[in-house]
């Protein structure tokens, strides 16, 4: 029986692991992989204490710090499928058909790239439809590419593509770009970026691989088609809260509702931190702070429990 099971290996999970180890809680951290979402960032300039580092560098620093604490057990690879509560004990089940018992749970599983849910998107995933521009932009050498999404993540994709793609279209659903002006300026200066606003993606087409994308001009209603070999979907993120459905309160955006003082969820014994929650700001520094709040609150909860019974 564990005192605490931390689910997730991103900044929140790692910070929680370090604090839990220092509090000598009997802790298990289960993560599909250590590092979390920042891993795919080419450059991070706002992680306090570091002027600039890559996502992979940050992951290495985090992992080293976490593994320096021998008191914490780490299961890297399995995915948590569900969490069940029975009286005061939780059973955490993984997709490897293993289950672990614990007194408390911290859900820090972050978020994943949001899908368009347009016809063809799933069929062509990895076959021209991509979600990781830093990974797959180099495959677009001399090719026409479409980026869906005019926010910061869309323009990160544009910037990753600039040195490879011959032409880049940005399709934005609304009439305004939400990206920071510095990124938009840089993209426009390149001369190979065309921005199309009020565009709703209708379908991604191709044979074995993507060959074009259809969108509707939301002003005229006209359906238009762009011949392109790559579609980078960058329309934000969605919370990975599915495993906690039925256990804790989840808001209409799919985010786990927490008490922002303690990170406690609606279910006693379950805490949550980081991008999976209804936190307002999705920042590495914020996720870390919230995870630490959670562990301190969990520590208090575990220590006062015997007296209340």
């Amino acid at each position: 029986m564990y005192d605490l099971i931390i689910i997730g290996g991103g900044p929140a999970g790692i910070a929680a692991g370090i604090y839990a180890a220092r509090k000598k809680l009997k802790t298990l951290l289960i993560a599909e992989s250590i590092g979390g979402q920042p891993v795919i960032a080419s450059e991070i300039n706002n992680f306090i204490g570091f002027k600039s580092l890559s996502g992979v560098q940050l992951k290495q620093i985090f992992e080293e710090h976490l593994r320096a604490h021998s008191g914490i057990e780490i299961e890297e690879g399995p995915k948590v499928a569900k969490i069940e509560k029975e009286k005061d004990v939780f059973a955490v089940f993984t997709d490897k058909d293993k289950s672990y018992q614990t007194k408390t749970v911290l859900i820090a599983v972050g978020s994943s790239p949001r899908r368009l849910n347009a016809p063809g998107e799933k069929k062509f995933e990895g076959k021209g439809v991509f979600y990781c521009s830093i990974c797959d932009a180099p495959l677009m050498k001399n090719k026409t590419t479409v980026v869906v999404g005019g926010g910061n993540s869309g323009f990160y994709a544009v910037l990753d593509l600039l040195s490879y793609a011959s032409k880049i279209y940005v399709l934005e659903y609304s009439d305004t770009l939400r990206a920071d002006p510095v990124y938009i300026e840089k993209a426009e200066k390149s001369g190979k970026v065309e921005i199309i606003k009020m565009a709703e993606v209708k379908e991604i087409l191709g044979d074995k691989f993507v060959s074009s994308i259809k969108y509707q001009d939301r002003n005229s209603g006209e359906i238009k088609e762009i011949k392109a070999e790559g579609v980078f979907v960058s329309i934000g993120y969605q919370s990975n809260s599915a495993m906690a459905e039925g256990l804790v309160d989840i808001d209409d955006k799919g985010k786990i509702v927490v008490n922002h003082k303690t990170q406690a969820t609606s279910c006693e014994g379950v805490w949550s931190a980081g991008d999976v929650t209804d936190v307002l700001y999705n920042q590495i520094n914020v996720a870390i702070g919230d995870a630490i709040k959670a562990v301190l609150s969990i520590y208090e909860h575990l220590n006062k429990k015997p007296q209340s019974h």
Partner: protein, 75 residues
């Protein structure tokens, strides 16, 4: 034989290579953004274009997935 198909910027490729190095496993690397032949080979093996693709003695793994790698390595 272990072969990993990468691009120079892909973080999961770096993580996969680090993982092999940690385990002391020998591998061959092909950068598909510059090596056209390797690119075709990767597409033929995995029927898709995303990186990394890892070929462990014929077992094809798309993406960096520790447990799938362990399984293919026979651990």
């Amino acid at each position: 034989m272990i072969k990993i198909y990468t691009t120079q910027t892909c973080p999961y490729c770096v993580m996969a290579k680090n993982y092999f190095q940690e385990k002391g496993v020998q591998y061959e690397e092909a950068n598909v953004s510059v090596d056209e032949k390797a690119r075709e080979e990767m597409i033929n093996k995995s029927h898709q274009m995303g990186v990394p693709v890892i070929d462990i003695n014929g077992a094809i793994i798309v993406g960096f997935n520790r447990s799938e790698i362990d399984k293919a390595l026979g651990k």
